[in-house]
Protein backbone atom coordinates (compact mmCIF):
# COMPACT_ATOMS: atom_id res chain seq x y z
CA UNK A 1 0.00 0.00 0.00
CA UNK A 2 3.02 2.27 0.24
CA UNK A 3 2.67 5.12 -2.20
CA UNK A 4 -0.89 4.18 -3.03
CA UNK A 5 -2.90 6.93 -4.59
CA UNK A 6 -5.35 9.00 -2.62
CA UNK A 7 -8.07 10.68 -4.60
CA UNK A 8 -10.13 13.55 -3.36
CA UNK A 9 -12.22 15.47 -5.78
CA UNK A 10 -14.46 18.44 -5.27
CA UNK A 11 -18.13 17.96 -6.04
CA UNK A 12 -17.70 20.37 -8.91
CA UNK A 13 -14.96 18.31 -10.52
CA UNK A 14 -16.86 15.08 -10.24
CA UNK A 15 -20.09 16.60 -11.54
CA UNK A 16 -18.23 17.63 -14.66
CA UNK A 17 -17.37 13.99 -15.23
CA UNK A 18 -20.94 12.78 -14.87
CA UNK A 19 -22.07 11.00 -18.02
CA UNK A 20 -25.02 12.81 -19.53
CA UNK A 21 -26.61 12.00 -22.85
CA UNK A 22 -26.12 15.08 -24.98
CA UNK A 23 -28.01 13.75 -27.96
CA UNK A 24 -31.78 13.78 -28.47
CA UNK A 25 -31.77 9.99 -28.69
CA UNK A 26 -32.65 7.41 -26.09
CA UNK A 27 -30.99 4.16 -25.10
CA UNK A 28 -32.52 0.99 -23.72
CA UNK A 29 -29.65 -1.06 -22.29
CA UNK A 30 -30.76 -4.59 -21.39
CA UNK A 31 -28.89 -7.04 -19.15
CA UNK A 32 -29.69 -10.03 -21.38
CA UNK A 33 -32.39 -12.72 -21.23
CA UNK A 34 -35.25 -10.22 -21.51
CA UNK A 35 -38.73 -11.73 -21.44
CA UNK A 36 -39.87 -12.55 -24.98
CA UNK A 37 -42.97 -14.61 -24.26
CA UNK A 38 -44.79 -13.15 -21.24
CA UNK A 39 -45.42 -9.46 -20.60
CA UNK A 40 -42.36 -8.46 -22.64
CA UNK A 41 -42.11 -5.42 -20.35
CA UNK A 42 -38.75 -4.27 -21.66
CA UNK A 43 -39.29 -4.89 -25.38
CA UNK A 44 -42.72 -3.26 -25.07
CA UNK A 45 -41.14 -0.15 -23.52
CA UNK A 46 -38.56 -0.05 -26.32
CA UNK A 47 -41.31 -0.16 -28.94
CA UNK A 48 -43.34 2.46 -27.07
CA UNK A 49 -40.40 4.86 -26.94
CA UNK A 50 -39.61 4.15 -30.63
CA UNK A 51 -43.05 5.48 -31.72
CA UNK A 52 -45.29 2.59 -30.66
CA UNK A 53 -47.36 0.84 -33.32
CA UNK A 54 -46.05 3.29 -35.89
CA UNK A 55 -42.46 2.30 -35.09
CA UNK A 56 -40.03 1.21 -37.78
CA UNK A 57 -37.70 -1.23 -36.09
CA UNK A 58 -34.33 -2.35 -37.44
CA UNK A 59 -32.95 -5.50 -35.80
CA UNK A 60 -29.14 -5.57 -35.87
CA UNK A 61 -27.96 -9.19 -35.80
CA UNK A 62 -24.25 -8.36 -36.10
CA UNK A 63 -23.30 -9.84 -32.69
CA UNK A 64 -24.89 -13.26 -33.13
CA UNK A 65 -23.56 -16.29 -34.97
CA UNK A 66 -27.17 -17.26 -35.80
CA UNK A 67 -28.41 -14.08 -37.49
CA UNK A 68 -31.17 -15.78 -39.46
CA UNK A 69 -32.75 -17.45 -36.47
CA UNK A 70 -32.26 -14.63 -33.95
CA UNK A 71 -33.38 -11.97 -36.42
CA UNK A 72 -36.50 -13.90 -37.27
CA UNK A 73 -37.35 -14.42 -33.57
CA UNK A 74 -37.14 -10.70 -32.84
CA UNK A 75 -39.14 -9.90 -36.00
CA UNK A 76 -41.91 -12.18 -34.71
CA UNK A 77 -41.87 -10.58 -31.25
CA UNK A 78 -41.97 -7.00 -32.50
CA UNK A 79 -44.74 -7.89 -34.97
CA UNK A 80 -46.67 -9.54 -32.13
CA UNK A 81 -46.36 -6.24 -30.24
CA UNK A 82 -48.03 -4.49 -33.16
CA UNK A 83 -45.06 -3.05 -35.05
CA UNK A 84 -45.86 -3.01 -38.76
CA UNK A 85 -42.38 -2.49 -40.12
CA UNK A 86 -39.53 -4.69 -38.85
CA UNK A 87 -36.35 -5.07 -40.91
CA UNK A 88 -33.30 -7.20 -40.25
CA UNK A 89 -29.87 -5.62 -40.75
CA UNK A 90 -27.54 -8.59 -41.09
CA UNK A 91 -24.03 -7.21 -41.44
CA UNK A 92 -21.80 -10.24 -41.49
CA UNK A 93 -18.68 -8.47 -42.85
CA UNK A 94 -17.46 -4.86 -42.76
CA UNK A 95 -18.41 -4.46 -46.46
CA UNK A 96 -22.03 -5.04 -45.47
CA UNK A 97 -21.89 -1.92 -43.31
CA UNK A 98 -22.01 0.29 -46.39
CA UNK A 99 -24.78 -1.68 -48.16
CA UNK A 100 -27.26 0.93 -49.47
CA UNK A 101 -30.24 -1.29 -48.53
CA UNK A 102 -29.15 -1.35 -44.90
CA UNK A 103 -28.37 2.35 -44.84
CA UNK A 104 -31.85 3.03 -46.25
CA UNK A 105 -33.46 0.91 -43.51
CA UNK A 106 -31.49 2.73 -40.81
CA UNK A 107 -32.35 6.15 -42.26
CA UNK A 108 -36.04 5.32 -41.88
CA UNK A 109 -35.92 3.43 -38.56
CA UNK A 110 -37.41 4.94 -35.40
CA UNK A 111 -35.88 2.20 -33.23
CA UNK A 112 -32.76 0.06 -33.63
CA UNK A 113 -32.33 -3.15 -31.66
CA UNK A 114 -28.94 -4.88 -31.20
CA UNK A 115 -29.26 -8.59 -30.36
CA UNK A 116 -26.97 -10.57 -28.07
CA UNK A 117 -23.95 -12.57 -29.18
CA UNK A 118 -20.32 -11.45 -29.08
CA UNK A 119 -19.78 -7.73 -28.45
CA UNK A 120 -16.38 -7.80 -30.19
CA UNK A 121 -18.24 -8.66 -33.42
CA UNK A 122 -20.27 -5.44 -33.13
CA UNK A 123 -17.21 -3.22 -33.08
CA UNK A 124 -15.14 -5.39 -35.48
CA UNK A 125 -17.83 -5.19 -38.15
CA UNK A 126 -19.40 -1.77 -37.54
CA UNK A 127 -16.94 0.62 -35.92
CA UNK A 128 -15.96 3.54 -38.20
CA UNK A 129 -18.21 2.34 -41.02
CA UNK A 130 -21.06 4.18 -42.72
CA UNK A 131 -23.59 2.43 -40.49
CA UNK A 132 -21.69 3.59 -37.40
CA UNK A 133 -21.67 7.17 -38.65
CA UNK A 134 -25.34 7.08 -39.62
CA UNK A 135 -26.41 5.58 -36.30
CA UNK A 136 -24.61 8.30 -34.36
CA UNK A 137 -26.09 11.03 -36.56
CA UNK A 138 -29.62 9.69 -36.19
CA UNK A 139 -29.10 9.04 -32.48
CA UNK A 140 -28.14 12.70 -32.03
CA UNK A 141 -31.45 13.60 -33.69
CA UNK A 142 -33.63 11.34 -31.54
CA UNK A 143 -33.27 7.70 -32.60
CA UNK A 144 -34.02 5.08 -29.94
CA UNK A 145 -31.28 2.44 -29.73
CA UNK A 146 -31.68 -0.72 -27.67
CA UNK A 147 -29.26 -3.56 -27.07
CA UNK A 148 -29.34 -6.74 -25.03
CA UNK A 149 -26.36 -8.62 -23.57
CA UNK A 150 -23.58 -8.07 -26.18
CA UNK A 151 -25.82 -5.29 -27.50
CA UNK A 152 -25.65 -3.71 -24.04
CA UNK A 153 -21.93 -4.27 -23.59
CA UNK A 154 -21.07 -2.27 -26.73
CA UNK A 155 -22.92 0.90 -25.58
CA UNK A 156 -20.07 2.72 -23.72
CA UNK A 157 -16.93 4.17 -25.26
CA UNK A 158 -14.91 1.47 -23.49
CA UNK A 159 -16.52 -1.95 -23.34
CA UNK A 160 -15.88 -5.17 -21.48
CA UNK A 161 -15.03 -7.70 -24.18
CA UNK A 162 -14.62 -10.60 -21.84
CA UNK A 163 -13.78 -11.24 -18.24
CA UNK A 164 -13.82 -13.54 -15.29
CA UNK A 165 -16.89 -13.67 -13.07
CA UNK A 166 -17.20 -14.62 -9.41
CA UNK A 167 -13.86 -13.24 -8.33
CA UNK A 168 -12.53 -10.16 -6.57
CA UNK A 169 -11.42 -7.12 -8.60
CA UNK A 170 -8.06 -7.44 -10.36
CA UNK A 171 -6.77 -5.81 -13.55
CA UNK A 172 -6.51 -9.22 -15.27
CA UNK A 173 -10.18 -9.89 -14.60
CA UNK A 174 -11.35 -7.98 -17.67
CA UNK A 175 -10.36 -7.31 -21.25
CA UNK A 176 -11.42 -3.85 -22.41
CA UNK A 177 -11.69 -2.48 -25.94
CA UNK A 178 -13.28 0.58 -27.52
CA UNK A 179 -17.07 0.26 -27.66
CA UNK A 180 -19.60 1.97 -29.91
CA UNK A 181 -19.73 5.05 -27.68
CA UNK A 182 -23.47 5.68 -27.48
CA UNK A 183 -23.16 6.29 -23.72
CA UNK A 184 -19.63 7.55 -23.05
CA UNK A 185 -18.06 7.80 -19.61
CA UNK A 186 -19.60 4.73 -17.99
CA UNK A 187 -18.78 1.07 -17.48
CA UNK A 188 -21.54 -1.42 -18.18
CA UNK A 189 -21.81 -5.09 -17.32
CA UNK A 190 -24.80 -7.34 -18.03
CA UNK A 191 -26.12 -10.65 -16.62
CA UNK A 192 -24.91 -8.89 -13.47
CA UNK A 193 -26.40 -10.66 -10.44
CA UNK A 194 -26.90 -13.92 -12.35
CA UNK A 195 -23.19 -14.27 -13.10
CA UNK A 196 -21.74 -12.67 -9.95
CA UNK A 197 -20.00 -9.85 -11.81
CA UNK A 198 -19.38 -7.26 -9.07
CA UNK A 199 -15.63 -7.83 -9.15
CA UNK A 200 -15.56 -7.71 -12.93
CA UNK A 201 -17.52 -4.43 -13.10
CA UNK A 202 -15.27 -2.77 -10.52
CA UNK A 203 -12.18 -4.02 -12.39
CA UNK A 204 -13.46 -2.39 -15.58
CA UNK A 205 -14.69 0.82 -13.96
CA UNK A 206 -11.51 1.55 -12.05
CA UNK A 207 -9.27 1.39 -15.13
CA UNK A 208 -11.19 3.76 -17.33
CA UNK A 209 -12.00 7.45 -17.27
CA UNK A 210 -15.52 6.88 -15.96
CA UNK A 211 -17.13 7.55 -12.64
CA UNK A 212 -20.27 5.40 -12.93
CA UNK A 213 -20.53 1.66 -13.39
CA UNK A 214 -23.86 -0.02 -14.13
CA UNK A 215 -24.44 -3.69 -13.39
CA UNK A 216 -27.61 -4.70 -15.21
CA UNK A 217 -29.42 -7.90 -14.20
CA UNK A 218 -31.04 -10.27 -16.67
CA UNK A 219 -34.55 -9.31 -17.85
CA UNK A 220 -33.79 -5.80 -16.57
CA UNK A 221 -32.89 -2.63 -18.44
CA UNK A 222 -32.01 1.00 -18.06
CA UNK A 223 -33.72 3.52 -20.29
CA UNK A 224 -31.43 6.51 -20.75
CA UNK A 225 -32.77 9.89 -21.82
CA UNK A 226 -30.81 13.11 -21.37
CA UNK A 227 -29.62 13.15 -17.77
CA UNK A 228 -31.92 10.49 -16.41
CA UNK A 229 -32.06 6.73 -16.33
CA UNK A 230 -35.15 4.71 -15.50
CA UNK A 231 -35.09 1.07 -14.45
CA UNK A 232 -37.38 -1.39 -16.23
CA UNK A 233 -37.89 -5.09 -15.61
CA UNK A 234 -37.56 -7.92 -13.16
CA UNK A 235 -34.20 -7.50 -11.40
CA UNK A 236 -32.22 -4.49 -10.31
CA UNK A 237 -29.51 -2.11 -11.44
CA UNK A 238 -26.41 -1.90 -9.31
CA UNK A 239 -24.76 1.50 -9.67
CA UNK A 240 -21.20 2.05 -8.44
CA UNK A 241 -20.00 5.65 -8.25
CA UNK A 242 -16.25 6.09 -7.88
CA UNK A 243 -16.19 9.87 -8.38
CA UNK A 244 -15.34 10.60 -4.78
CA UNK A 245 -13.43 7.51 -3.70
CA UNK A 246 -10.91 8.21 -0.98
CA UNK A 247 -8.41 5.59 -2.13
CA UNK A 248 -7.53 3.12 -4.84
CA UNK A 249 -4.34 1.15 -5.46
CA UNK A 250 -4.98 0.83 -9.21
CA UNK A 251 -1.85 2.73 -10.22
CA UNK A 252 0.48 0.53 -8.14
CA UNK A 253 -1.14 -2.83 -8.84
CA UNK A 254 0.26 -5.53 -11.12
CA UNK A 255 -2.10 -7.46 -13.35
CA UNK A 256 -2.78 -10.39 -11.05
CA UNK A 257 -2.91 -8.41 -7.78
CA UNK A 258 -6.06 -7.48 -5.91
CA UNK A 259 -7.54 -4.04 -6.45
CA UNK A 260 -8.81 -1.86 -3.62
CA UNK A 261 -11.41 0.89 -3.72
CA UNK A 262 -12.47 2.80 -0.63
CA UNK A 263 -15.41 5.14 -0.25
CA UNK A 264 -17.32 4.34 -3.43
CA UNK A 265 -21.06 4.93 -3.48
CA UNK A 266 -23.48 2.07 -4.11
CA UNK A 267 -27.10 2.18 -5.26
CA UNK A 268 -29.24 -0.85 -6.03
CA UNK A 269 -32.55 0.11 -7.65
CA UNK A 270 -35.36 -1.93 -9.20
CA UNK A 271 -38.19 -1.30 -11.67
CA UNK A 272 -39.71 2.18 -11.60
CA UNK A 273 -36.76 3.89 -9.92
CA UNK A 274 -35.02 6.78 -11.59
CA UNK A 275 -31.43 7.97 -11.30
CA UNK A 276 -30.10 11.44 -12.07
CA UNK A 277 -26.91 11.07 -14.10
CA UNK A 278 -25.87 14.68 -13.53
CA UNK A 279 -26.25 14.68 -9.74
CA UNK A 280 -25.47 10.96 -9.57
CA UNK A 281 -28.34 10.41 -7.14
CA UNK A 282 -31.47 8.27 -7.00
CA UNK A 283 -34.64 10.25 -7.61
CA UNK A 284 -36.81 8.95 -4.82
Amino acid sequence: MVGAKSREQSDEESKQQSPVLKSQGQLIIIGGAEDKEGDCTILREFVRRASGRGAKIAVMTVATSLPGEVGSDYRDIFERLGVEKVDIVDTERREDASDPRYLEILKEATGVFFTGGDQARVTDVLKDTEIDKLLHERFAQGLVIAGTSAGAAMMPDIMIVEGEAETNPRLETVTLEPGMGFLPGVAIDQHFAQRGRLGRLISALIQQPAVLGFGIDENTAIAVKEDEIEVIGEGAITIIDVANITHTNVDETLHDESLAICGAKLHVIPHGYRFDLRKRECKC
Copy 2:
Protein backbone atom coordinates in the same frame (compact mmCIF):
# COMPACT_ATOMS: atom_id res chain seq x y z
CA MET B 1 -42.23 3.94 -4.31
CA VAL B 2 -45.03 6.04 -2.83
CA GLY B 3 -44.57 6.37 0.90
CA ALA B 4 -41.15 4.73 0.76
CA LYS B 5 -38.94 5.51 3.68
CA SER B 6 -36.23 8.11 3.52
CA ARG B 7 -33.41 7.79 6.01
CA GLU B 8 -31.04 10.55 6.93
CA GLN B 9 -28.83 10.18 9.95
CA SER B 10 -26.27 12.48 11.44
CA ASP B 11 -22.69 11.25 11.55
CA GLU B 12 -22.97 11.13 15.32
CA GLU B 13 -25.98 8.82 15.25
CA SER B 14 -24.44 6.44 12.80
CA LYS B 15 -21.13 6.35 14.70
CA GLN B 16 -23.02 5.18 17.75
CA GLN B 17 -24.27 2.20 15.76
CA SER B 18 -20.83 1.21 14.53
CA PRO B 19 -20.00 -2.35 15.57
CA VAL B 20 -16.95 -2.31 17.82
CA LEU B 21 -15.55 -5.32 19.63
CA LYS B 22 -15.86 -4.47 23.30
CA SER B 23 -14.18 -7.65 24.51
CA GLN B 24 -10.45 -8.31 24.76
CA GLY B 25 -10.82 -11.21 22.35
CA GLN B 26 -10.07 -11.41 18.67
CA LEU B 27 -11.99 -12.93 15.80
CA ILE B 28 -10.71 -14.44 12.56
CA ILE B 29 -13.70 -14.70 10.24
CA ILE B 30 -12.87 -16.76 7.14
CA GLY B 31 -14.87 -16.86 3.90
CA GLY B 32 -14.42 -20.61 3.47
CA ALA B 33 -11.96 -22.70 1.43
CA GLU B 34 -8.89 -21.33 3.24
CA ASP B 35 -5.57 -22.69 2.04
CA LYS B 36 -4.63 -25.79 4.04
CA GLU B 37 -1.68 -27.08 1.99
CA GLY B 38 0.36 -24.14 0.73
CA ASP B 39 1.33 -21.07 2.75
CA CYS B 40 -1.71 -21.46 5.02
CA THR B 41 -1.61 -17.66 5.42
CA ILE B 42 -4.89 -17.42 7.28
CA LEU B 43 -4.56 -20.46 9.55
CA ARG B 44 -0.98 -19.35 10.31
CA GLU B 45 -2.21 -15.89 11.34
CA PHE B 46 -4.87 -17.50 13.56
CA VAL B 47 -2.23 -19.61 15.31
CA ARG B 48 0.09 -16.62 15.65
CA ARG B 49 -2.62 -14.52 17.29
CA ALA B 50 -3.60 -17.46 19.53
CA SER B 51 -0.08 -17.56 21.12
CA GLY B 52 1.93 -19.12 18.27
CA ARG B 53 3.74 -22.38 18.96
CA GLY B 54 2.56 -22.23 22.56
CA ALA B 55 -1.09 -22.09 21.44
CA LYS B 56 -3.67 -24.51 22.75
CA ILE B 57 -6.17 -24.93 19.93
CA ALA B 58 -9.66 -26.38 20.27
CA VAL B 59 -11.27 -27.43 16.98
CA MET B 60 -15.06 -27.18 17.12
CA THR B 61 -16.57 -29.66 14.65
CA VAL B 62 -20.18 -28.94 15.56
CA ALA B 63 -21.14 -27.61 12.10
CA THR B 64 -19.90 -30.52 10.03
CA SER B 65 -21.55 -33.87 9.36
CA LEU B 66 -18.06 -35.45 9.18
CA PRO B 67 -16.60 -34.39 12.55
CA GLY B 68 -14.08 -37.23 12.72
CA GLU B 69 -12.54 -36.54 9.34
CA VAL B 70 -12.70 -32.73 9.44
CA GLY B 71 -11.43 -32.59 13.02
CA SER B 72 -8.52 -34.83 12.21
CA ASP B 73 -7.60 -32.78 9.13
CA TYR B 74 -7.44 -29.55 11.13
CA ARG B 75 -5.50 -31.28 13.90
CA ASP B 76 -2.89 -32.32 11.32
CA ILE B 77 -2.67 -28.81 9.87
CA PHE B 78 -2.29 -27.06 13.23
CA GLU B 79 0.31 -29.62 14.35
CA ARG B 80 2.18 -29.06 11.07
CA LEU B 81 2.21 -25.34 11.92
CA GLY B 82 3.94 -26.21 15.21
CA VAL B 83 1.05 -26.18 17.66
CA GLU B 84 1.71 -28.77 20.37
CA LYS B 85 -1.76 -29.00 21.85
CA VAL B 86 -4.74 -29.49 19.53
CA ASP B 87 -8.02 -30.89 20.88
CA ILE B 88 -11.24 -31.72 19.07
CA VAL B 89 -14.51 -30.62 20.63
CA ASP B 90 -17.11 -32.80 18.93
CA THR B 91 -20.52 -31.72 20.25
CA GLU B 92 -23.00 -33.75 18.30
CA ARG B 93 -25.98 -33.11 20.60
CA ARG B 94 -26.89 -30.32 23.04
CA GLU B 95 -26.04 -32.62 25.99
CA ASP B 96 -22.44 -32.69 24.75
CA ALA B 97 -22.23 -28.94 25.29
CA SER B 98 -22.02 -29.46 29.06
CA ASP B 99 -19.51 -32.33 28.88
CA PRO B 100 -16.84 -31.54 31.52
CA ARG B 101 -14.04 -32.78 29.24
CA TYR B 102 -14.99 -30.26 26.58
CA LEU B 103 -15.44 -27.46 29.10
CA GLU B 104 -11.97 -28.24 30.46
CA ILE B 105 -10.46 -28.05 26.96
CA LEU B 106 -12.15 -24.72 26.30
CA LYS B 107 -11.04 -23.29 29.66
CA GLU B 108 -7.42 -23.96 28.67
CA ALA B 109 -7.62 -23.05 24.96
CA THR B 110 -5.89 -19.95 23.64
CA GLY B 111 -7.57 -20.34 20.24
CA VAL B 112 -10.88 -21.89 19.19
CA PHE B 113 -11.53 -22.85 15.56
CA PHE B 114 -15.04 -23.49 14.18
CA THR B 115 -15.03 -25.64 11.01
CA GLY B 116 -17.40 -25.33 8.08
CA GLY B 117 -20.64 -27.26 7.65
CA ASP B 118 -24.13 -26.05 8.45
CA GLN B 119 -24.34 -22.87 10.54
CA ALA B 120 -27.79 -23.82 11.89
CA ARG B 121 -26.10 -26.80 13.60
CA VAL B 122 -23.80 -24.44 15.52
CA THR B 123 -26.65 -22.52 17.10
CA ASP B 124 -28.98 -25.53 17.44
CA VAL B 125 -26.38 -27.44 19.43
CA LEU B 126 -24.49 -24.67 21.27
CA LYS B 127 -26.67 -21.61 21.79
CA ASP B 128 -27.46 -20.95 25.48
CA THR B 129 -25.42 -23.95 26.65
CA GLU B 130 -22.48 -24.03 29.04
CA ILE B 131 -20.05 -24.01 26.14
CA ASP B 132 -21.73 -20.90 24.72
CA LYS B 133 -21.47 -19.14 28.09
CA LEU B 134 -17.86 -20.20 28.61
CA LEU B 135 -16.81 -19.12 25.11
CA HIS B 136 -18.31 -15.65 25.60
CA GLU B 137 -16.65 -15.30 29.02
CA ARG B 138 -13.25 -16.34 27.73
CA PHE B 139 -13.71 -14.24 24.59
CA ALA B 140 -14.31 -11.19 26.77
CA GLN B 141 -10.98 -11.95 28.47
CA GLY B 142 -8.94 -12.35 25.29
CA LEU B 143 -9.67 -15.68 23.60
CA VAL B 144 -9.06 -15.83 19.85
CA ILE B 145 -12.02 -17.37 18.00
CA ALA B 146 -11.82 -18.31 14.33
CA GLY B 147 -14.47 -19.74 12.05
CA THR B 148 -14.61 -20.68 8.39
CA SER B 149 -17.68 -20.79 6.15
CA ALA B 150 -20.50 -21.92 8.52
CA GLY B 151 -18.06 -20.99 11.30
CA ALA B 152 -17.98 -17.46 9.86
CA ALA B 153 -21.72 -17.24 9.27
CA MET B 154 -22.50 -17.83 12.95
CA MET B 155 -20.34 -14.92 14.21
CA PRO B 156 -22.94 -12.07 14.18
CA ASP B 157 -26.01 -11.79 16.42
CA ILE B 158 -28.19 -12.35 13.36
CA MET B 159 -26.88 -14.88 10.86
CA ILE B 160 -27.74 -15.91 7.33
CA VAL B 161 -28.89 -19.52 7.62
CA GLU B 162 -29.49 -20.01 3.95
CA GLY B 163 -30.26 -17.95 0.91
CA GLU B 164 -30.33 -17.60 -2.81
CA ALA B 165 -27.21 -16.46 -4.63
CA GLU B 166 -26.84 -14.70 -7.96
CA THR B 167 -30.01 -12.66 -7.71
CA ASN B 168 -30.99 -9.11 -6.86
CA PRO B 169 -31.91 -8.16 -3.26
CA ARG B 170 -35.33 -9.28 -2.09
CA LEU B 171 -36.58 -10.17 1.41
CA GLU B 172 -37.21 -13.78 0.36
CA THR B 173 -33.59 -14.14 -0.71
CA VAL B 174 -32.34 -14.96 2.79
CA THR B 175 -33.41 -16.83 5.91
CA LEU B 176 -32.10 -15.18 9.07
CA GLU B 177 -31.82 -16.62 12.58
CA PRO B 178 -30.02 -15.61 15.76
CA GLY B 179 -26.28 -16.29 15.49
CA MET B 180 -23.69 -16.79 18.24
CA GLY B 181 -23.22 -13.04 18.69
CA PHE B 182 -19.43 -12.77 18.84
CA LEU B 183 -19.54 -9.73 16.51
CA PRO B 184 -22.93 -8.05 16.99
CA GLY B 185 -24.35 -5.39 14.73
CA VAL B 186 -23.03 -6.66 11.40
CA ALA B 187 -24.16 -8.89 8.56
CA ILE B 188 -21.66 -11.44 7.27
CA ASP B 189 -21.67 -13.56 4.14
CA GLN B 190 -18.93 -15.94 3.05
CA HIS B 191 -17.85 -17.51 -0.29
CA PHE B 192 -18.80 -13.97 -1.37
CA ALA B 193 -17.37 -13.34 -4.85
CA GLN B 194 -17.23 -17.05 -5.67
CA ARG B 195 -20.97 -17.49 -5.25
CA GLY B 196 -22.15 -14.06 -6.40
CA ARG B 197 -23.71 -13.11 -3.07
CA LEU B 198 -24.01 -9.30 -3.29
CA GLY B 199 -27.81 -9.43 -3.50
CA ARG B 200 -27.99 -11.91 -0.64
CA LEU B 201 -25.75 -9.81 1.64
CA ILE B 202 -27.75 -6.64 0.96
CA SER B 203 -31.00 -8.56 1.58
CA ALA B 204 -29.69 -9.66 4.99
CA LEU B 205 -28.14 -6.33 5.94
CA ILE B 206 -31.16 -4.20 5.14
CA GLN B 207 -33.52 -6.22 7.36
CA GLN B 208 -31.45 -6.17 10.52
CA PRO B 209 -30.33 -3.50 12.96
CA ALA B 210 -26.82 -3.34 11.51
CA VAL B 211 -25.04 -0.73 9.47
CA LEU B 212 -22.14 -2.78 8.12
CA GLY B 213 -22.22 -5.85 5.90
CA PHE B 214 -19.09 -7.88 5.17
CA GLY B 215 -18.80 -10.09 2.11
CA ILE B 216 -15.80 -12.35 2.66
CA ASP B 217 -14.25 -14.15 -0.32
CA GLU B 218 -12.93 -17.68 -0.18
CA ASN B 219 -9.39 -18.10 1.21
CA THR B 220 -9.80 -14.62 2.68
CA ALA B 221 -10.48 -13.51 6.25
CA ILE B 222 -11.02 -10.52 8.46
CA ALA B 223 -9.17 -10.37 11.74
CA VAL B 224 -11.21 -8.30 14.19
CA LYS B 225 -9.59 -6.68 17.23
CA GLU B 226 -11.24 -3.86 19.16
CA ASP B 227 -12.31 -1.27 16.58
CA GLU B 228 -10.20 -2.50 13.71
CA ILE B 229 -10.39 -5.19 11.09
CA GLU B 230 -7.48 -6.37 8.99
CA VAL B 231 -7.83 -8.30 5.75
CA ILE B 232 -5.81 -11.50 5.30
CA GLY B 233 -5.63 -13.82 2.31
CA GLU B 234 -6.11 -14.17 -1.39
CA GLY B 235 -9.36 -12.39 -2.28
CA ALA B 236 -11.03 -9.27 -0.95
CA ILE B 237 -13.54 -8.08 1.59
CA THR B 238 -16.54 -6.20 0.28
CA ILE B 239 -17.90 -3.82 2.90
CA ILE B 240 -21.34 -2.26 2.51
CA ASP B 241 -22.21 0.61 4.86
CA VAL B 242 -25.90 1.51 5.02
CA ALA B 243 -25.64 3.93 7.96
CA ASN B 244 -26.31 6.98 5.84
CA ILE B 245 -28.44 5.64 3.02
CA THR B 246 -30.79 8.21 1.60
CA HIS B 247 -33.56 5.77 0.73
CA THR B 248 -34.75 2.20 1.07
CA ASN B 249 -38.11 0.64 0.30
CA VAL B 250 -37.64 -2.22 2.80
CA ASP B 251 -40.63 -1.22 4.94
CA GLU B 252 -43.04 -1.22 2.02
CA THR B 253 -41.75 -4.28 0.19
CA LEU B 254 -43.47 -7.66 0.07
CA HIS B 255 -41.38 -10.81 0.31
CA ASP B 256 -40.88 -11.43 -3.40
CA GLU B 257 -40.46 -7.80 -4.45
CA SER B 258 -37.17 -6.12 -5.29
CA LEU B 259 -35.42 -4.11 -2.60
CA ALA B 260 -33.86 -0.71 -3.24
CA ILE B 261 -31.04 0.99 -1.39
CA CYS B 262 -29.70 4.39 -2.39
CA GLY B 263 -26.54 6.08 -1.19
CA ALA B 264 -24.83 3.17 0.55
CA LYS B 265 -21.06 3.22 0.85
CA LEU B 266 -18.92 0.51 -0.72
CA HIS B 267 -15.35 -0.52 0.06
CA VAL B 268 -13.51 -3.45 -1.51
CA ILE B 269 -10.19 -4.14 0.21
CA PRO B 270 -7.63 -6.94 -0.14
CA HIS B 271 -4.84 -8.41 2.00
CA GLY B 272 -3.02 -5.96 4.25
CA TYR B 273 -5.73 -3.32 4.29
CA ARG B 274 -7.28 -2.19 7.55
CA PHE B 275 -10.73 -0.82 8.26
CA ASP B 276 -11.76 1.31 11.23
CA LEU B 277 -15.04 -0.05 12.58
CA ARG B 278 -15.73 3.06 14.65
CA LYS B 279 -15.24 5.60 11.86
CA ARG B 280 -16.34 3.07 9.23
CA GLU B 281 -13.44 4.08 6.97
CA CYS B 282 -10.51 2.34 5.32
CA LYS B 283 -7.19 3.08 6.97
CA CYS B 284 -5.07 3.84 3.98
